[in-house]
Symmetry: C2
Subunit: 363 residues, 2 copies
């Protein structure tokens, strides 16, 4: 159990952008919300999964929809709290803690807002181990914790409680509700016992986000190469392997918003010894990187595009022609690489007709 500091929060915003692998939305708004709560004297307590009693009820919270909408109608933070409270009422039980469902992007910070406003501790774990675009793409779901009942709430207090036959249909129904709520909504789902947290969550992903942000910051302060330092740090985490897989200049970006996603690709012409052009296919997140048709990294392993100069992670919406970038790929933990997990959020889950090959073998 530990209290999050303001510095942790700033570091997390950077680390969560890295774990977002291009998607997940900018954690900036969430960071501001937690900061405002801290300014008002609130605290955020994080719990290691091992500290959660087996029979405790954990209710994860998140935002759902387009982060671009969120920026136009900034939430008060009470929306996600309302979802959690509705689910508590529906279940007839109080939550012991909340937890992220996603550690990449904005959803790394949303449960911290809930924690600050309610006083509930936040479990240092999540169900995606990165960012993914759909709600069934969760280790929770893969390992048998149902997403339903799920609550979807908006800023007016309108809410729906969804009970679906499976998590894919829950995603389908809730996406429809979210769209009708204006494209952004606040959710509570995958409620589970402490025992299930330990069994199904990707552990220590908030602290991983903080460590990534801190590592990049300290490297810069100490005039070291931030990306090198990051790759040296990773073996000490559950994300034990990371490599630079490309470096060069963005020469083409195609993006269209279709079916609620940012779909497209980026082309990066190799420089500094990298020969050829890397093409990265995007569905919110960076899904697959190829050079001359040859796969260099593939989902669910992380594919992160970073500014060559500053080592800042670049999210899909900020990709621009002419940017000098470094592409880093990182191995995800074993819990995310089982055949059952790959079925849901491996290449097949995105309609990509390529087998999954771990980044360690591709390098």
């Amino acid at each position: 159990m530990w209290q999050m500091t303001r510095q942790d929060l700033r570091d997390l915003a950077v680390g969560a952008a890295f774990l977002g692998t291009g998607g997940g939305g900018d954690p900036y708004i969430g960071r501001l919300m937690v900061q405002a709560a801290m300014d008002a004297g609130k605290t955020v307590t994080l719990l290691d999964p091992s500290e959660v009693p087996d029979d405790a009820l954990v209710i994860p919270t998140a935002m759902m929809g387009a982060p671009t909408v969120l920026i136009e109608k900034i939430p008060s933070g009470e929306e996600a709290v309302a979802s959690l409270r509705r689910l508590e009422e529906f279940l007839g039980r109080k939550a012991y803690a909340t937890m992220p469902i996603e550690c990449g992007g904005i959803n790394s910070t949303m449960p911290l807002v809930v924690g600050a406003l309610t006083g509930l501790p936040v479990v240092d774990a999540d169900g995606m181990g990165r960012a993914f675009p759909e709600l069934q793409m969760e280790t929770f779901s893969v390992l048998g914790v149902p997403g339903s009942p799920m609550v979807v709430t908006n800023e007016y207090g309108d809410n729906t409680i969804i009970q679906a036959r499976d998590d894919k249909f829950m995603e389908w129904l809730s996406r429809g509700v979210c769209i009708r709520m204006g494209g952004a909504a606040y959710i509570a789902e995958y409620s589970m016992s402490g025992a299930d947290v330990k069994r199904t969550a990707v552990p220590n992903t908030i602290s991983l986000g903080i460590r990534i942000g801190r590592c990049l910051r300290e490297a810069k302060q100490n005039h070291k190469n931030p990306i090198d330092e990051l790759l040296k740090m990773l073996p000490d985490t559950h994300y034990s392997y990371g490599r630079i897989i490309w470096g060069g200049k963005v020469i083409d970006v195609r993006r269209e918003t279709k079916m609620g996603w940012a779909l497209g690709y980026a082309q990066i012409e190799g420089m500094d010894g990298w020969r050829g052009t890397m093409e990265i296919q995007i569905q919110n997140e960076n899904l697959i990187a190829r050079v001359d048709g040859k796969v260099k990294a593939i989902v669910p392993d992380l594919i992160c595009i970073m500014e060559a100069e500053t080592a800042e992670p670049i999210t899909t919406e900020y990709l621009r022609y002419g940017q000098r970038v470094v592409v880093v790929s990182v191995a995800v933990p074993p819990i995310m690489r089982t055949p059952e997990a790959l079925e849901v959020f491996g290449p097949k889950g995105f309609g990509i007709d390529e087998p999954y090959t771990p980044i360690e073998k591709l390098v």
Copy 2:
């Protein structure tokens, strides 16, 4: 309290098509479902609103969406029962009875299926007094009974419980869910006390449907003019005034399915003394009838197109070039003509820029 007979059911199917004023869907499927339940030894008990204890809980049930979809995936009847049961669980109370929300079209029969399958009595009343396309268009809503909490269920048992700030937003959210459930769903909403039934419902609309069907049938059996007989019967009901407002031949029909509605118009060239051409504007239901721009009847008063030969009500989807028809307009009860009611389901509720004028004044 009375038991519905098979003949009642056949008569209701005709009368409910009349009360559908072109919309509401064909009650045929619902009739078959009730008949199957009767064949299996089940009964349908109808209750006069005055027979419902003031503190009893009444949960109305209905189908929602496109009746055309319903015909392609015929329900078992358990879907609407599941909605009722979910709402009972959510409210923590058992229903004393069910009730229609709409007495025109298919929703006149859906609660009878629920009544037959559960043994619950069905209150002889509804909230529309005809058919309307949207869920906030209810005397219940106008008179302060909220539609929420509302349950939407499909044939797979997927369900959502919707709690919305108002009934229009409930319509908006549930329509989104219904579309994602494939365009047809089963609902329980506007749960209320017996006292509220007496205060807010349009009374005796199922028995009215039966009486209309019976009247048309008996007139034909006795070689009398069915429409004349119907108009003679109406003063004995809450729908106290009815007139033939046109007769002629359908010379044009335009219909398009847009935003989930059948939008368009029908043109009827006058014959047998009717001079000019009547144009009827349609949004699922017949909304306004004009001759040379002059209003002849307007929503919420009923505008029913009937086959001249057989006196069968013609629903929007069966309108065809060349049909010989008679157009009948009927006054709705006072509870549907208050300024508050007209605000919701008068011309303005449909975006029609005409004042409401009662049919008695237009004739």
